[in-house]
């Protein structure tokens, strides 16, 4: 239902909207609902203008909360909504399948593509299997193997970024988490086929970048992308992670789509439906699909060498040193 999230999870700042929705629900449930059509129209329009206002002024910390909303669409949702005949390819050929990264072949609009995306998990069981979207080295290696496969057959690559960070654990270290990410960064920089990446939810640090070295990098309007999570940053620099320091860290880290755009770290901000993707997964997928299709169309025009050179220059020029010109 457009603009009407029906789940039970309410973000604190959305409470007034939830209250209005409750009223709308009660009215529509009545047998004589038809006679209240004027009231319903007015309530709906109040709700929409309230949503518009709340989401226009969304602060960075609340943005992080929206990005983590349990009903926010995940990679599997976008694949289902955007792809005809998706064929998941599981094998990393080395260790085992990491469900925290989904890879496979699919069609998006007119394009045959290789899709790579973090998966956080929907059910409790899936969330645990996916380590809440925190991939292990084998996940990153599977991603690279499939990207190389795409290169071999000249297929463009679409990646969906949605991770709090790569998994920090004993096994992940034993199997070379750092090496896996590092190799992905190096190899993605020289893959001779178009790559588009979108941060759909959380863009947590190296674990996000590990599938994010792309020709075009977009962020959904209410996603975040940063070197560290606000909590991680607060715990280290403020010596404590709490509501106040998390909020301050979120602001300091300039992690919203708008800030990353302003700082020249991404190429585009992709609109979400009114009130965020969790209110209208279908609408979000449509907007995202339009962006992906259009960008791939543009990128396919470049010769492979040009593509790689442009991608290189894009990352080569990032950084601010004293006296360097503003981006």
């Amino acid at each position: 239902m457009a603009n009407g999230y029906t789940g039970s999870y309410t973000l604190a700042f959305e409470q007034p909207v939830t209250d209005l929705e409750e009223q709308i629900k009660r009215l529509t449930a009545r047998d004589d609902a038809e006679s209240y059509s004027d009231e319903l129209t007015s309530l709906r329009s109040s709700r929409d203008s309230l949503l518009a206002k709340l989401y226009t002024d969304l602060n960075p910390w609340d943005t992080v909360r929206v990005a983590r909303h349990p009903a926010r669409p995940q990679t599997s949702d976008y694949i289902a909504a955007m792809c005809r005949d998706f064929r998941e390819l599981h094998g990393d050929r080395h260790f085992g399948d990491d469900p925290a990264i989904i890879t496979g072949l699919g069609r998006i609009g007119p394009h045959k593509v290789m899709i790579v995306g973090h998966q956080k998990g929907k059910s409790t069981q899936e969330k645990i299997a996916c380590h809440f979207g925190c991939a292990h080295p084998e996940g990153y290696r599977k991603a690279l193997l499939k990207m190389k496969l795409a290169e071999k057959f000249n297929l463009p690559i679409v990646t969906f970024i949605d991770t709090p960070g790569a998994y920090p654990g004993i096994k992940a270290e034993e199997r070379g988490q750092a090496e896996a990410i590092a190799v992905n960064l190096r190899e993605m920089a020289r893959i001779k086929t178009p790559i588009v990446s979108v941060v759909i939810g959380e863009g947590g640090s190296g674990g996000a970048l590990g599938i994010g070295v792309a020709d075009r990098v977009g962020m959904l309007e209410y996603s975040w992308y940063s070197v560290i999570s606000p909590e991680g940053c607060a715990a280290i620099l403020w010596k404590a992670a709490n509501e106040e320091t998390n909020r301050a860290a979120a602001e300091g880290l300039a992690l919203t789509a708008r800030d990353n755009m302003k700082n020249g770290l991404i190429d585009e901000v992709i609109k979400e439906p009114l009130g965020g993707a969790h209110r209208d997964a279908h609408g979000a997928a449509e907007l995202l699909q339009r962006w992906v299709v259009e960008r791939l169309r543009e990128l396919k025009r470049f010769k492979p060498q040009t593509l790689v050179e442009r991608r290189y220059q894009k990352f080569r020029t990032i950084g601010k040193i004293e006296g360097s010109p503003a981006n």
């Binding site: 004993i170 750092a178 960064l185 070197v227 991680g232 880290l253 770290l265 290189y312 601010k320 040193i321």
Partner: protein
């Protein structure tokens, strides 16, 4: 919902219980490992390795360059490059103040020295990180200087040696810092394409975004004994899994046993090891 904090420079020092500051002044020093009281000059003459227990003291970039290069052969470049504060970042202290304090205490502009030098007679490009400058955290300056070092090596067809010592990304530069991982790794892709030799030397500590980019991309990866090397820091891992970490976890020898480090090399052998690898690669 899990929130997984990533590695950062500030994570390491207290945790490992090793000195955060450069080696203390005074005639006598205590070995942090075996607690022996050592005559300072005897340790210095031993390349800052404890003569009793072989503990490798953390050394700064100036000391490292001096140890690795033939005397007087190091010619630095980009010495004047200074950090900016692109996000006007303020936590408990402004980032600008942290930079100034680090510059004052280390006498350096930022946390890496780059230049050309001779190692046992072989010319090479050298990048040496300095853990004492804000924990060797990688911001725009380190990313840019490392990238330019890679480019100098590529242009001159010279071997590249990077000595890492870093707690990871520099949070105060947020996304700018993160993207240095992509930038340095992309430069290494080009260097690799043209057949360049990259020897990566991992020293205590090498963690986070530095490990997850150029440090792990060496054609040959060497590490100093017992150096802490990893992606996530031990504290973060412990908080996540709520278990004791195994003995020797994330130390150089562990990384070698797991297949991610080629050789654990004591400091006294580092120069000759690097020299001989350069010879084998015909560079």
């Amino acid at each position: 919902m899990t929130n997984v904090p990533t590695r950062s420079w500030a994570d390491t020092p207290e945790l490992v219980g090793r000195p955060k500051k450069a080696i203390p002044e005074g005639l006598w020093i205590r070995c942090p490992e075996c607690a022996a009281i050592l005559f300072r000059r005897s340790v210095e003459n031993n390349l800052w390795v404890c003569p009793d227990c072989q503990y490798h003291f953390r050394i700064n970039a100036v000391q490292r360059v001096k140890q690795l290069c033939d005397p007087g052969s190091f010619e630095p470049f980009n010495e004047d490059m200074k950090p900016a504060d692109p996000l006007n970042f303020v936590d408990l202290k402004p980032y600008k103040d942290r930079i100034k304090a680090a510059q004052k205490s280390t006498g350096q502009n930022d946390g890496v020295h780059t230049g050309t030098g001779f190692i046992k007679g072989r010319k090479a490009v050298l990048a040496v990180m300095d853990f004492f400058f804000l924990g060797g955290s990688m911001g725009s300056v380190i990313g840019e200087k490392i990238t330019q070092a890679i480019e100098v090596a590529a242009d001159g067809d010279l071997p590249l040696v990077i000595v890492s010592a870093s707690g990871g990304a520099r949070m105060m530069e947020s996304g700018f810092s993160l993207m240095q991982m992509a930038k340095t790794s992309a430069a290494l892709a080009r260097f690799d394409d043209m057949g360049g030799l990259f020897i990566s030397v991992l020293t205590d500590p090498t963690t986070g975004g530095v490990t997850a980019s150029f440090a792990m991309l060496g054609d040959v990866i060497l590490a100093e004994p017992k150096a802490l090397i990893g992606f996530a820091g031990p504290r973060v891992i412990q908080q996540t899994i709520r278990q004791e970490l195994p003995e020797g976890f994330q130390r150089a020898e562990f990384l070698r046993d797991c297949g991610f480090v080629d050789r654990v090399v004591p400091r006294s052998d580092l120069r000759s090891e690097i020299g001989s690898i350069i010879d084998y690669a015909g560079k």
